[in-house]
């Protein structure tokens, strides 16, 4: 592998590149699903190839190939340089990169039980058993389960001498019960919607989920939602469950702090950001006890944004994003760091695969734990609504105005969980919402949630991001607007 990396770098140099980095990646994936008692998807895939990014004539070029021969990677490197020279036809300034050290290293992410070594029969048996448990509930019209495993090896080399190998194993699993009745469809998911929970780790994740125990409850709640009262439309107190808060962080903190968006580089597609450069260290983003970090270090936990080095060879770091409520930092790269006066990249350049360019992406954007137990949080709430498990999410292209709906909610009256509510939703303006936070769950409630489906870039890249969160409370939130027309 290193030979192909080295050869492509050498060809790039000979063709006139002043900087080059290369990623040779080999990924294996296994996907299993069941639907209403039958195996749905049953597939395995493998992909290997090389992508090289170069600077020539002061401009960027990138090319990728699956032709892993000396000739194939040489052609690829030559193509990248030719593309960079074309880019230079419409450049304003030369590409400038902040300095970074040279590293020769090898790192493997946490994985106690290699999911590819677990017998497939055991995996399918578990999913089919869980599927059957959900269908035992009268009124469940569709039961679905899924498992997904990925093993990704990356060999990174740069023209400045870095050579880094990383292996990351990612595991994910989720279950869903759907109930169709009359004129409505209701569903419940566990442990999260849209594919469940995903972590950097092995089959130990699946074993920790206790799927069989949760399956009947998931089915029962899906059916019970049909007879639940509709979530009222009002302004009031909201407690968000951890997984929903994780997505709230993703959309209303994680995306706005991406420096490429702030600088207009995503204006045509993913959008820009309300966090213009004048707001750095100059914006009350949230309540004074809200602290959010972007932490890619393994010490933060086995998140989808955990690694040892990013995809331009910068070591993983922890960045304060919101510190004591104040906006404190962006996600940056070697090319963008100097634009905000940073001497070094924040190490957030990531790529979906060998055929994609590294871009600024979220790592683990996490809300640090507060001091409240869940029980105390509920007991302290006289009148409110508890919402859990995302059903839909949407936010404008500058990340101000958002609306989320969740699968389920419960009334809170006099400090106690009351009746179930269906079709819950809430909406708001990002900074107003975060400034209305008045209680954050403690470390015992904190979970590092995985969002496996974050889309960004052209061509589109789907990336996994991590979001640590514990149930938290927000005051004066607009509730119920999604269904206000009905």
């Amino acid at each position: 592998m290193w030979e192909y990396c080295g050869h492509s770098l050498e060809i790039a140099r000979l063709r006139g590149a002043t900087y080059a980095d290369v990623r040779l990646m080999h990924s294996r994936q296994r996907d299993l699903t069941t639907k209403s008692g039958c195996v749905g998807t049953l597939g395995q895939s493998e992909s290997i190839g090389l992508g090289i990014r170069v600077v020539a004539n002061g401009a960027w070029g990138f090319a990728s190939t699956d032709q892993l021969t000396r000739e194939g990677v040489a052609n690829c490197a030559a193509q990248a340089v030719a593309i960079a020279r074309s880019s230079a036809l419409a450049k304003k300034e030369n590409v400038q990169l902040v300095p970074e050290g040279t590293y020769v290293d090898s790192w493997q992410g946490p994985c106690l039980k290699d999911p590819f070594e677990i017998p497939l029969e055991a995996q399918l048996d578990l999913l089919l058993a869980v599927d059957a448990e959900m269908r035992k509930v009268r009124g469940v019209t569709l039961s679905e389960t899924d498992m997904q495993f990925r093993k990704i090896d990356t060999w990174f080399a740069s023209s400045t001498g870095s050579k880094i190998h990383q292996r990351r194993v990612i595991s994910g699993c989720g279950i869903v019960a759907t109930a169709f009745q009359g004129d409505a469809i209701q569903k419940r998911s566990y442990p999260n919607s849209f594919g469940g929970q995903h972590v950097l780790g092995g089959y130990e994740l699946i074993e920790s989920m206790d799927l069989l125990r949760h399956a009947p409850r998931v089915g029962e709640e899906a059916v019970a939602l049909h007879s639940a009262a509709r979530c009222p439309e009002k302004t009031g107190t909201l407690i968000l469950g951890g997984s929903q808060l994780g997505l709230q962080i993703h959309e209303s903190v994680g995306h706005p702090i991406e420096l490429d968006r702030v600088l207009g580089q995503e204006a045509n597609f993913a959008g820009t950001s309300f966090l213009t450069l004048d707001k750095l260290h100059n914006l009350r983003y949230a309540s004074s006890f809200v602290n959010v970090v972007a932490d890619a270090r393994p010490a933060h936990g086995p998140g989808l944004g955990t690694f040892a080095y990013d995809d331009e060879g910068v070591p993983a770091q922890c960045i304060d994003v919101i510190k004591d409520g104040e906006f404190h930092g962006y996600l940056s790269s070697r090319e963008t760091a100097h634009l905000i006066g940073l001497p070094r990249s924040g190490g957030t350049m990531r790529t979906e695969g060998w055929n994609r360019l590294p871009m600024i992406r979220m790592t683990n954007i996490s809300l640090l734990p507060g001091s409240w137990t869940f029980e105390n949080l509920m007991a302290d709430t006289d009148d409110g609504i508890l919402m859990d498990t995302n059903r839909s999410w949407s936010i404008d292209d500058r990340r101000y105005q958002f609306q989320f709906s969740t699968e389920i909610a419960w009334e809170i009256k006099g400090g106690k969980r009351g009746r179930m509510l269906k079709n819950p939703s809430y909406s708001g303006i990002t900074t107003e919402f975060w400034n209305s936070c008045d209680a954050i769950g403690n470390a015992n409630e904190w979970v590092l949630w995985g969002t496996p489906n974050c889309g960004k870039g052209q061509p589109m890249q789907v990336m996994g991001t991590g979001h640590g969160a514990s149930p938290s409370r927000f005051r004066n939130v607009k509730i119920g607007t999604a269904f206000s027309n009905q």
Binding site: K35, V39, G40, T41, L42, G43, Q44, S45, S47, I48, W60, A63, S64, D66, Q67, E71, N75, A78, A82, I83, S86, L89, A90, K91, K92, P119, L120, L124, L128, T141, E144, T178, F180, D183, I185, G264, Q265, E266, A267, N355, R356, R391, S392, S394, D396, D397, R398, Q401, Q403, S405, S425, S427, Q458, P459, T481, A482, F483, S484, N485, Q486
Partner: protein, 463 residues
Amino acid sequence: MNQRSKRRNALVSGAVLRPERELHEIGATVLRLAKKRGVLETEVSIDESIQALTRFANNTIHQNVAEQGLVVSIRTATDGRTARVTTNRVDEDALRVAIEDCLSLASHQPKDAKLLPMPGKQKYRIVHRFHPGTAALTAELRARAVKNTCQFADKKGQVAAGIFSNGQSQCVLVNSRGLTASYRHTNATFSVTMQQGSAASWAKANSGDVTQFDPLELVKIASSKAVRAQNPLELAPGKFTVILEPAAVLDLVGFLFYDFAATAVADKRSCFSERLGKSILGENITITDDAYHPHQLGSPFDGEGMPRQKVTLVERGMVKNLVYSRRSAKQAGTRPTGHGFPLPNEYGEAPMNLVVEGGKTSLEEMIASTDSGLLVTRLWYIREVDPYEKIMTGMTRDGLFRIEKGKIAQAAKNFRFNQSVLEMLRNVESLGPARRATGEEAFEMVVPPMKVRNFHFSEVTKF
């Protein structure tokens, strides 16, 4: 010049696909190896793709990429058990391993009594969707078009961002029962956002033939709308008459595509469950799936190699038909329509070439006939709030304009909508000519602009 030299030069100037026979040779190798291994039934699809994309922002190129790859996907079926393995390694040893992996995966599952034997040889309509000029577009030619865009923006005091991409792809599908299908096409896209101060507008085109659009014309449209988009007025949310440009129609109506799947209806997760044969949309709404429409791209066969049929899904507001894979057709006692996904999967099928029938009212006539309303350029971040009423939420973006007394009066601050697509398609007052539309939420389809009454905007944002 020999083949190898041609390929090397092509990689630098503009890459070329392999001769189709090389893909057939890979397919034949897999079938031979599987037969030797004693596999009862084998299906192989070989997909090759070459894509390039030049991305610009702040009036300069900031990303410029190219990729090429070939993927072999193998499905085996033995004794009611099937599985799929995909690899991009095409040497004989790797293909042999992939077959073994596939057999191993399949053998560990329970027998599926409803698994059908693979289909035999089929006949396909011929479609010509490969345009050599589009395939030959080089990084330099794209960069020159982008340079013109950036110079135009500089002159106007505006900031341009967008993409110019082109690509070519081909696929071959064969199986051990003698089915052989092949297809190739080219594609090109130009998308531009023009920003003036805090205002912005947008235009985009996509075609199999790059000569079918003029990037600079799109730039001029977005530029003039960006000028109009300045100083937006904040309006109170509520129900408005809206004129939706084709991209806005596409990105909303596109969310219906999976609801037309017979499997989704059988699973009771479609908004058309228990609504077949009912008039639930307006009489002026007719929707077909037509892979052969001149503005469509895509292969004339589905994931199992069945020929795609033209299907009338909605006729004058009534849901008439669904699309079927072989499996869902068998269960429903009807014929497959050629819309199945590659097996095994849990979703069944979907129409991928929707055509919403247009009308004769031009966008200008729609505006002129509107006493009070809003013109919507495009929508953004659309998600499903309610699956049965098909309530979607999302934002307007890059050009929302207030219409007063038949004229565009002023830009308006962007709204959030919460709107049932079914209700929207009951409230269509007029339709323009249908065209190939391209947005960011749905894949490209043929749709008209629409004038719709009582469109529900629930909240307003800050810009």
